[in-house]
Symmetry: C2
Subunit: 265 residues, 2 copies
């Protein structure tokens, strides 16, 4: 812990973001780590020390069996009220409530929730696209413990390639005052979520102000430049050469603003 | 407009983020575009069609003479009140008010403002680090019109290298519910802020949900992986191979959530 990682192989200090080709579609029970390792080997992309492997939440959730058929959901009265208020399907409203610690805002067409893991996300992160629906309408919940999912993938990939890496599980999240979604980290392993520059001096010897850098989110956003393009459907990217703090723990928690410091809920 | 840009030179579809070495320190009146072009030439990094040049707001503001000496600021009563409430220097409070459309939250040590350009930012984006201070305490305001600054840089760089590119002016901004700052676009030229995927079908023929992608912010965040590292102080990055929508107008405006849709102020 505390070491800077991610040496660039390039002489110019540049960073590469490499989409991983050749992944299959995933279903519950699939060994995602083995599939990613196989695809890396087939693509002749052996992982290097300091690489960051960014994995779309969607395939982690699918492999972990987090797809839910809406017709299997038992709907309670609070969910019926939320559905009436927002126009969402009652079964989806039930799942949003089950996944949430609190509903922060609800209006027709929109639910902003604080997910039980602490992230603020539309529909508590529940996604209804890119899920097979031969068996009726199906939606996808976040992994139960994305940090643990990231840690398992990291162990598998490190074992396979014999190097130390970091893993980021990403989703596209909205922002309070800006339109559109940006790639955001929801689970991490092998890196610190934040880089704390407090106390470092700037070029003129003055102490830096904006000193807490959301590095895990910046990595997720960078990976989004190749992940999540619908046509290509590439759910994994390798970031090579980025600077981050190597850390085994404590996952994404430090990225979440403590409730007592939340000025906008 | 409407065309996808950013062909990767690499065969694997990867993206490169290249820090630009050899830039001088900037002061008011410097020709920033010429300096960047010269540095690109010296580094043997001629711009390629579709490149995105990401420039830290700090050097744009310096070159445009947006540094202000606190002792030169005339302080009004509202600023004295804001200073008393927050513990900020009265002159800084005055500048924050002058740069803001509204103060959204203020408490000891913290002012969150809606900048006159519409962005929500701590201290209305005013930065007190990395500004020379031989002549007394100096702070740096955002450019008067960052989209126009980006357009000027784009014209200069396109003229020099004979290719079509995009320019993003970035700053590190905080987020409502997440700790740390992430690279964020405050002015753009040559690309659309957002990619609208509404109506595109996913792999299973279902219409995509999270369909508005904040591409300009993702590019700014990606560039932050090489920009703003205090020790190195690299204020410009080239992103090569990224997908975006080429567009001459309308700048960063569409990235800003309309006030009437703001649920959290």
């Amino acid at each position: 812990m505390g070491m800077r990682a991610g040496q660039s192989n390039s002489q110019d200090g540049s960073i590469r973001i490499i989409p991983l080709p050749g992944l299959p579609l995933f279903a519950a029970g699939d060994d995602l780590g083995a599939s990613i390792a196989d695809a890396l080997a087939r693509a002749e992309l052996p992982l290097a020390d300091g690489d960051v492997v960014v994995v779309a939440q969607k395939i982690v959730s699918k492999a972990e069996g987090r797809a839910v058929r809406l017709e299997d959901v038992e709907i309670g009265e609070p969910a019926r009220q939320l559905a009436a208020e927002t126009g969402k399907a009652p079964a989806l409203a039930q799942l949003i409530l089950a996944e949430s610690e609190a509903i922060m805002r609800a209006k027709p067409g929109l639910v902003i929730a604080r997910h039980r893991l602490g992230h603020v996300a539309a529909n508590a992160g529940i996604d209804a696209s890119n899920v097979a629906h031969e068996d009726g309408e199906t939606v996808l919940l976040w992994p139960l413990d994305p940090d643990a999912s990231a840690a398992r993938l990291r162990q598998q990939l490190q074992g396979r390639f014999g190097v130390e890496i970091a893993v980021v599980i990403s989703d596209s999240l909205g922002r309070a005052w800006r339109m559109g979604t940006a790639g955001t980290a929801i689970g991490i392993a092998g890196l610190a979520a934040l880089i704390d520059r407090r106390g470092e001096a700037d070029l003129f010897g003055r102490v830096l102000q904006a000193t807490l850098v959301a590095r895990a989110d910046e990595l997720a956003a960078a990976a989004s430049l190749v992940i999540g393009e619908a046509a290509e459907g590439t759910p994994v990217a390798i970031i090579r050469g980025a600077t981050y703090i190597r850390a085994g723990a404590p996952g994404i928690g430090p990225m979440l603003r403590p409730r007592r410091e939340d000025l906008f809920t």
